[in-house]
Symmetry: C2
Subunit: 181 residues, 2 copies
DNA sequence: CTTAGACGGTACCGATCGGTTCCGTCTGTG
DNA sequence: CACAGACGGAACCGATCGGTACCGTCTAAG
């Protein structure tokens, strides 16, 4: 019967890997930050890679849940998703998309992380597609992918700019894109 | 009088860091791949960080030169820059933008790499601005930054997709953006 | 009270990290 | 020929990497 060591590890992994990068954070940091013993780590995860993959799977779930809830709260339109992104970009610990950052540093073409990123982005695009349909636009996955490209472009731009400028710009571009459709 | 050890190191750094990531490539790999002795490395660079910064500065120069030449050869219009991006995305060793990948994995907010990335992107945006002016569009840095956001969004999407789809989509979006201006 | 299981702490492992030092070689110049 | 400088190879350094093994503790269930 596991208590909470596993969850503390996942929490620390989510925070540290996102904030500082996967390769930059060693097990020592993870264990110190989570207060979990070294042995307990390997009771719950087969390896550091296992923790990374589990954490990213966790991130996929929590991010999409968050996006859905905030978008709904902000009006439920396609543009509301961009308002959610703007809110996200304003937070002090915002550092773009965890999947994009992960595949930017792992590089291996047949990595499980790449496959997970692909799947994650596909799911987000599909969500944007449902937002488009609900707002009365035609069912168009290509248009949804255009919105996703804008969101990802903004997420990556905020990595070197320190403001929500790119997110607001992406929203404006999305608005123009939807008006001229 | 330096001969060529420094240049071989920079070539290897450019190739390996871009292909596999900065943290993933150790000095051993750099030295083995370039054929440079360990001592010679430190005769030319103060540290690995120094090599990284020098290599990125080199990348900024060569990338912008390449972009200018290809864009000019492809017509010199703003959309020609996207044709250059499509060509780039088709190459087998394409792995997005080196600066974006670098800041995705180094993370430190006051890092020199972040400042260089900011400067690089500003220079590219300024080049896009001149392309807009030459094509008869109003002098509008904001519009140039919109084009850059599309290019960066495509570069990052190609990290987990394996085709030039995102680049072609970004071009289509740029075309729509320019037509409705 | 006793037992089982989850736990944290620690010592330890081989490998590799970035970095320093010394040495022998090779090449071009005076 | 002699000298200087750029070079490659290798030994070595402390630190840290991911991973293994063992131990004592705490807690909940029988």
């Amino acid at each position: 019967m596991p208590t909470n060591a596993r969850q503390r590890l996942l929490d620390a992994a989510k925070k540290l890997f996102y904030a500082e990068g996967i390769q930059a954070v060693g097990l020592e940091r993870l264990l110190a930050d989570s207060g979990v013993g070294r042995a307990s780590f390997y009771r719950h995860f087969a390896s550091k890679d296992d923790l990374v993959v589990t954490m990213l799977s966790n991130y996929d779930q929590t991010y999409r849940t968050w996006l859905t809830e905030r978008t709904t709260a902000l009006g439920g339109t396609p543009l509301a998703a961009f308002d959610a992104l703007i809110e996200h970009a304003k937070t002090s610990d915002f550092r773009g998309c965890a999947f994009i950052n992960a595949i930017a540093e792992v590089a291996e073409p047949d990595s499980q992380i790449r496959a997970m990123a692909n799947q994650h982005k596909e799911a987000v695009a599909d969500y944007l597609r449902t937002l488009l349909v609900e707002a009365g636009y035609p069912d168009d996955m290509n248009l949804a992918r255009q919105l996703l490209l804008l969101m990802d472009g903004a997420a990556v731009t905020e990595l070197y700019e320190r403001s929500d400028r790119a997110a607001r710009q992406a929203k404006a571009m999305a608005q123009a894109l939807l008006e001229h459709t």
